[in-house]
Symmetry: C2
Subunit: 342 residues, 2 copies
DNA sequence: TTGTAGGCGTTATCAG
DNA sequence: CTGATAACGCCTACAA
């Protein structure tokens, strides 16, 4: 079959595509001047700029950042990878980060990795293909393949919500194992001697759980039950988790849930089973999600300042992008918020 | 200038910026052949392809989609705009949409508009500047400026989670006002004569609320209280909302909350105030969030099949991108799920 | 099946 | 302050 030029072309770009040369022609200036009006208005006389802006409005010109990015080798885009938006966990840091990067002239595009290990590799490759000016990664433990890719790409990277000995570039997070240990100390200070933990199957939740258990064993005390749940964990996972371990519970047990969803589920199931809280079962969650404070009674949890993580991540990433040589780690504190469940 | 590259292909070290010509040189083929191996492998001999792939691996080549997009006028990118990730509402459709578009070779980048009206305008401009091959918008009511932009851009658009007489392009959603009316009928069929509504300050929640109220008035029955809440609404908004209207409640009132967060908050506050449910206060939420079924007792809500919305949205958008001329609307059903609160 | 020529729309750079 | 020119890295179109 021969191709004829009469055939309508396949659906390609916009039919009416205004470009910088159109604006320039209408305004009676060179394309470069239009570019300057858009990117460095200080270097254009106010009179010219006004004429150009009028032409832009009249034509409805929307600059092509693909072309601009190719030419300038700056995409003005930051990619942020989060495991999921199903959990309120990452909402605060992402919102804050997005807002601050936006003020600095960068668009933040969110991508979801899911909690499946293979997912992140493909995603990072796909994202690097778009040449972001920076990357925000949730978590600090990545495959060797990803580490190599990131190193080769020479992209500023900020890792959040985790800690690691040797971050890829800059890291803004907190120590999950230490957090678990702090919860253990909190319970122990309350006179507890028997403990249980329900932890999601994700590296950071696991770190919180092992930190908790390790500290308890250091004190020579007893962990009566340990149970791994799905990630991200649901209320139902917490309920099921409690049902699974209920036979092992001591008359007075302190339970650490890897998220407030888990803790809430455990508390609901306990109430249903006639187990009193905090009398028979003390419970501490993680995340300070709204439900921990707005349910009745509110329950104890651990709070991390998500907005601060987002803000510092933005500051650090901008510094890296602008060449400030400050790779390193920023570890933030966490805070146990005692409420009615302990 | 000659195009011959004098860069010595490094043996193992990371190359700052490997390009298609480097791969081509190493594999002993033309750049175009490398491009074909990546994009249309069927048109390259297996032998050549293998050599090229080896070169790609050896150099750690990551194609530059910015350059490719400029040249092909296809970005292989879809932008999805959601109001917030703080609510579980949009999680299902977005996850499903992302997965299906990914299988079709498109990257979906999420952007947050917030619930502030001005936000969407700037965001849409910024996104169009990156020349997405398609757009997913949450909601079907946009400013005139946005409608004009989208029309000019000739980008396939799918609007979800809402309905409108004249969608921009294709729409996959449901009728919020009708949903509210159905909840009214459900309550009325249960013998209710007095009603209340707590609705978030967002267009779709408002439509659900007014649909509910309108149907009740049609029946000549009484709305004892109407209250507008923040968007997105929290559990605390629901609690506060109930406190605000408690003085107006009839001995037996049926309450419609604009989301399950609101309904849950109302139920908690009611219990605290000694108001029995469903005896004195029947409650119906919206969204079938996990909390509605996993709290104790579970409460009545309205379910919309978010995964179906995401799936159909992907199918419709792909059809539009491929030139299938099917602009129009797909309205999905909703389902009231009676549980212990009614 | 593979290669060559040219251009996608913008900006860096340097000249006026 | 403004303009002309040459890339940016890849892919469409056509040729061999």
């Amino acid at each position: 079959m021969s191709k004829t030029t009469i055939n309508p072309p396949p659906n390609r770009g916009p039919l009416v595509s205004v470009k910088i040369t159109d604006v320039a022609a209408l305004a009676g200036v060179a394309p470069m001047t239009v570019s300057r009006v858009l990117n460095t208005p200080d270097r254009v006389s106010e009179l010219t700029a006004a004429r150009v802006r009028a032409a832009i409005d009249q034509l409805g010109y929307v600059p092509n950042l693909i072309a601009g990015g190719l030419s300038s080798r700056r995409s003005r885009m930051i990619a942020a990878i989060v495991p999921t938006i199903a959990s309120p966990m990452f909402n605060e840091p992402v919102q804050t980060f997005t807002a601050l990067m936006g003020e600095a002239g960068y668009h933040v595009m969110l991508a979801l990795s899911g909690y499946t290990p293979g997912g992140e590799d493909r995603l990072v490759r796909a994202i690097l293909a778009r040449r972001p000016d920076g990357l925000l990664l949730t978590g600090a433990h990545h495959s060797a393949a990803i580490r190599a890719l990131l190193a080769d790409a020479r992209v500023p990277v900020v890792e959040i919500w985790d800690t690691a000995e040797h971050p890829t570039d800059v890291l803004v997070g907190f120590d999950h194992a230490e957090l678990g240990a702090a919860v253990a100390e909190f319970f122990i200070a309350g006179g507890h001697t028997h403990f249980a933990v329900l932890s999601a199957r994700d590296p950071r939740a696991a770190a919180r759980g092992t930190g908790f258990v390790a500290r308890i064993r250091q004190h020579g005390l007893t962990v009566v039950a340990e149970r791994v749940l799905n990630a991200p964990s649901s209320i139902e996972d917490g309920r099921q988790g409690l049902r699974d371990i209920v036979a092992s519970l001591a008359p007075r047990t302190a339970l650490f849930g890897s998220s407030d969803m888990v803790a809430f589920g455990a508390l609901i199931e306990a109430r249903k089973l006639g187990i009193s809280s905090p009398g028979q079962l003390a419970v501490c969650g993680f995340g300070d999600f709204e439900i921990s404070r707005s349910t009745e009674p509110p329950f104890t949890t651990v709070r991390v300042d998500g907005a601060a993580i987002g803000r510092i991540a933005a500051e650090q990433l901008l510094a890296r992008i602008n060449g400030a040589a400050t790779p390193g780690r920023v570890l933030l504190p966490f805070e146990i918020i005692p409420r009615s469940s302990t």
